[in-house]
């Protein structure tokens, strides 16, 4: 009997040693591959140990910050957005469930302290030890006052739309508003399901027919290529025939004889169609490329959230830039030409900045937890869109648009505004996409902007220009 008891003990020993072997397998051999698994929620909790840096506007308003809490005896941080939807698409979100977007995504290495420099390596050790890692703070070029004004104006209209304001000489991004917005603190799931697509940054992902605002590009191309002179005379009929189809002025108006300058100020379609035909598609598209069309703007923002502007086919794909199109319609911003508000703001930047375009720059500086400056981005010039002379001519003409032409509503007392309106018919119920692009002050521009209101009854001059005025006022008025 004792022999059998011993056998049973041996069997028990084998069984228990099998437990030790299997435990060893998990804790030693399989450990690394288990940590790499996406579904391993423990790794997500480990990420919570990062005290992610704040995102603050140039005027000191905190847009994103980390608030400490407790998880199983350790300090963890959750992300909060004190201003809610103020700059929700630009700032984006950093969420355990939804991942990251916007600046939270593009600036993640700095915000989470996981850069590849010495500080980042030190942080990697702390992270392994389970110690808190403190990320860098980011101070934006954004003006909370300007952003607030833009959001208020768009939301008062209950409109979907966007406002972009840049410092034309440095590319500093002063305002980037998009409506409808969402509350990144609470509303991510709701926002994902919302048919109005509040998560979409309409400034960089919204593609709209630029309408007459595109005439600035056509004018730049025509003047640079000597396809036209400022005082060249045009007949100004209500409609002309192009490619077997009629092309008419806004509201079918006939203007009579006038020069090219008058045609830009009063946005005469028939004249620009004629100029476009003289200019030719190749030269116009070359100029567009110089303005940044046909490719994504390279900037400190997730590439997948920055769409290129250009000519799109019926399936919504960007067509190669030499695909034959009706250049007369292209010249007045039609012909399935679509542009983002950011692209049209860059058009204004080019005029305001003596012909040069500059990379949009959201970041003023990145500061380490100890307050020292880690990075202060310098302006990045992306090349010349037109000659200085042409820029000077267009600057004057765009000032005339506000003084005498379609953009009168953008007039701000004491601020010399220059601009160009656009009213692109959407083809539905008489609704338009209303644009106003421009800069101020005209003589020494500090602000270059684009305003877009989707699907409105009004024109660019009626709807978009007043928004520009209001935002410019907020940007120039001292904080109250």
């Amino acid at each position: 009997m004792n022999r059998r008891i011993s056998n049973l003990f041996i069997a028990s020993t084998v069984a228990l040693l099998a437990l030790i072997a299997m435990t060893t397998y998990w804790q030693v051999w399989a450990r690394g591959s288990l940590e790499a698994r996406q579904a391993n929620v423990r790794m997500v909790y480990r990420d919570l140990a990062v005290d992610r840096g704040s995102i603050v506007t140039a005027d000191g308003v905190v847009l994103a910050e980390s608030t400490p809490g407790k998880l199983d005896g350790r300090t963890v941080y959750s992300r909060t957005y004190p201003e809610g939807g103020l700059a929700a698409q630009l700032v984006g979100y950093s969420s355990l469930l939804a991942g990251r977007s916007g600046l939270e995504r593009s600036l993640d290495p700095e915000l989470s302290g996981s850069t590849s420099d010495l500080a980042g390596i030190q942080n990697a050790f702390d992270r392994m030890k389970g110690d808190t890692v403190r990320g860098d703070d980011v101070i934006l070029r954004l003006s909370a006052a300007g952003q607030q004004a833009a959001m208020d104006e768009l939301e008062n209209l209950q409109a979907r739309g966007s406002v972009v304001v840049m410092d034309p000489s440095t590319g500093g991004l002063l305002v980037m508003a998009s409506t409808p917005t969402f509350n990144p603190n609470t509303g991510l799931e709701k926002a994902l399901a919302d048919p109005a697509s509040p998560l979409l940054n309409r400034a960089t992902q919204g593609l709209y027919p630029p309408g007459s605002t595109f005439k600035v590009v056509t004018a730049a191309s025509a003047l640079d290529n000597e396809a036209v002179t400022v005082d060249q005379q045009f007949p100004g009929p209500a409609c002309i025939q192009t490619g077997g189809q009629e092309l008419c002025n806004f509201r079918g108006r006939a203007y009579g004889p006038h020069d090219f300058a008058y045609a830009l100020v009063h946005s005469i379609n028939t004249t620009f169609a004629e100029v476009g035909m003289t200019l030719g598609q190749e030269q116009l598209e070359d100029t567009m490329k110089d303005f940044g069309f046909f490719k994504r703007f390279p900037w400190d923002y997730p590439p997948e959230q920055t769409l290129p502007s250009g000519i799109f086919n019926r399936r919504g794909n960007l067509v190669p830039f030499d695909t034959p199109v009706d250049v007369a319609r292209l010249a007045i911003g039609q012909e399935r030409l679509l542009a983002t508000p950011l692209q049209m703001a860059e058009v204004a930047v080019a005029v305001a900045n003596g012909g040069q375009i500059v990379e949009p720059q959201p970041v003023q500086e990145v500061r380490a937890p100890d307050g020292s400056v880690v990075r202060r981005p310098q302006p990045v010039y992306l090349g010349r869109a037109m000659t200085t002379e042409t820029a000077a001519i267009l600057r004057q003409l765009m000032k005339d648009v506000v003084d005498d032409g379609t953009g009168a509503a953008a007039n701000v007392a004491g601020l010399d505004v220059a601009g160009k309106t656009g009213t692109a018919e959407t083809g539905k119920d008489g609704k338009n996409d209303a644009w106003f692009i421009g800069f101020a002050p005209a003589k020494a521009p500090r602000f270059a902007f684009a305003v877009l209101v989707e699907n409105t009854d009004g024109t660019g001059g009626d709807v978009a220009a007043p928004i520009a005025a209001s935002v410019l006022r907020a940007l120039t008025e001292p904080a109250s």
Binding site: M1, N2, R4, I5, S6, L8, F9, S12, T13, A15, L16, L17, A18, L19, I20, M22, T23, T24, W26, Q27, V28, A30, R31, L34, E35, R37, A39, N40, V41, R42, Y45, R46, G69, K70, L71, D72, G73, R74, V76, G130
Partner: protein
């Protein structure tokens, strides 16, 4: 006899006392470590808890010293260390649960003392074998009929505000019954009276209980929805039949019939099916039937070789619950592996190995069939239960609803296991006294 020797002149008992002292030191250090790691959260003093622990075990030791002076000196200290590790990790999960567990430990030690006093002459128990068998069946029937389904398995009944797991007690009573029954019948079972296909088989009336056992185990499997419990009962019975008869044929035939029956029975129970699904490929069903096992493995792996340290692992989620559901009961081993690392996990398994070794050692030392069968049956029960539950949480076996003896949270489990410890000591007293080690 006790009176012939001085109370202090008992080297066996002194060794026991010393080892209990060691267990108390481990307990105090463990509680203090958790307290230090989680200072902001807990307020109750770990010192008081450790003192209570020390006092309770000291009291149990005194009773053993008086009643069973020659009993095995290792069993009680091993249970002390296991209980302490359980208390510390449960305290780390929730101080409230740890207080309950502390009460269960006190009740368990009280039951231990009761068993020790009542059955200091273990032969008394043999007379109760049929009573034990009847009560065991009654408890199981009660579970099946009144049982509430917890986490899919029907292993619990509610009495007043308490949840009781009668299976834990039925298991011991079954071992007692089998020990008595097999001692009576072992000759007829071992010496078959007829041959069939060249294989000796016992008379039907002798084999009938065996066949009945297969049937009952399978019924339990379906009725309780738990593969682990039915497998445990069945394996204990087979092990004891093997010891009694020495016939591996019974073991093989029994396992074969059970396996076939289980294959069929599993088709009837979706709960067991999902457990098997989660076992075969937890990663494919990580958010559903594989969730617990996947979280368990992540938790174990996260511990590494040295562990996160008492109170320093990541066990609770952001709502204060445990990341692995049922971490304090079924998955306590995962928590131990996380915080104590591979080193601690191996130590815990080795403690069980030590405990079963003492059990089997007591069985070989015993000089009557009943004691041998009883001790070996109880040792098998502990070792196999550890194998099934730990095997479940480390994906060696499908997950089942068993507890880790002395460690898992739960009154039934803790008190029943202390009864096992008491029985083992009683058997060893008789054996050691007549034929000292």
């Amino acid at each position: 006899m006790i009176t012939e020797r001085g109370m202090l002149d008992l080297p066996t008992r002194n060794r026991e006392l010393g080892l209990i002292g060691l267990a108390v030191v481990i307990t105090t250090a463990g509680f203090a470590a958790v307290q230090l790691a989680r200072a902001q959260e807990f307020s109750s003093s770990p010192i008081i808890a450790a003192l209570l622990f020390a006092f309770a075990y000291f009291a149990a030791h005194i009773v053993v010293r008086v009643v069973l002076p020659d009993a095995d000196p290792y069993v009680l200290p091993i249970t002390a260390v296991l209980t302490a590790i359980g208390l510390i990790e449960i305290y780390r999960i929730s101080p409230q649960l740890a207080r309950d567990q502390g009460i269960w430990m006190l009740l368990g030690l009280a039951l231990f003392v009761g068993v020790v006093i009542a059955f200091r002459d273990i032969r008394r128990l043999e007379e109760l074998k049929y009573t034990c068998g009847a009560v065991a069946v009654g408890l199981l029937l009660l579970t099946i009929t009144l049982g509430a389904s917890v986490n899919g398995a029907r292993l619990w009944i509610r009495v007043g505000g308490l949840q009781i797991q009668p299976g834990e007690f039925a298991k011991i009573l079954l071992v007692i019954f089998l020990a008595g029954y097999l001692r009576e019948r072992r000759e007829v079972l071992a010496a078959p009276t007829r041959r069939f296909l060249g294989i000796g088989i016992p008379a039907l009336r002798h084999a009938l209980p065996l066949l009945l056992l297969c049937g009952i185990s399978l019924v339990l499997l379906v009725a309780m929805n738990d593969l682990g419990t039915s497998l445990l009962f069945f394996v204990i019975a087979l092990a004891m039949i093997y010891i009694a008869t020495g016939r591996l044929l019974y073991v093989g035939a029994g396992l074969g019939v059970f396996a076939l029956g289980a294959l069929g029975a599993v088709q009837l129970t979706s709960h067991v099916q999902s457990r098997i699904e989660g076992w075969l490929d937890p990663w494919a069903v990580e958010q559903t039937s594989g969730y617990q096992i996947a979280q368990s493995i992540y938790t174990i792996a996260d511990g590494g070789v040295l562990g996160a340290g008492f109170g320093r692992g990541l066990i609770l989620n952001d709502t204060g619950g445990t990341i692995i559901p049922y971490a304090q009961t079924d998955f306590i081993y995962s928590v131990i592996a996380n915080e104590m690392g591979l080193v601690g996990a191996i130590a815990v398994i080795l403690l069980y190995l030590l405990l079963s070794w003492r059990g089997f050692r007591i069985a070989t030392a015993a000089d009557d069939g009943f004691s041998k069968l009883l001790a070996a049956g109880l040792a098998t029960a502990v070792a196999f239960q550890v194998f099934v539950i730990v095997g479940g949480v480390i994906r060696l076996l499908p997950l089942t609803g068993l507890t880790l003896p002395f460690v898992s949270y739960g009154g039934s489990s803790v008190t029943a296991n202390f009864a096992i410890a008491g029985l083992l000591l009683c058997i060893s007293q008789r054996a050691n006294r007549e034929r000292p080690l």
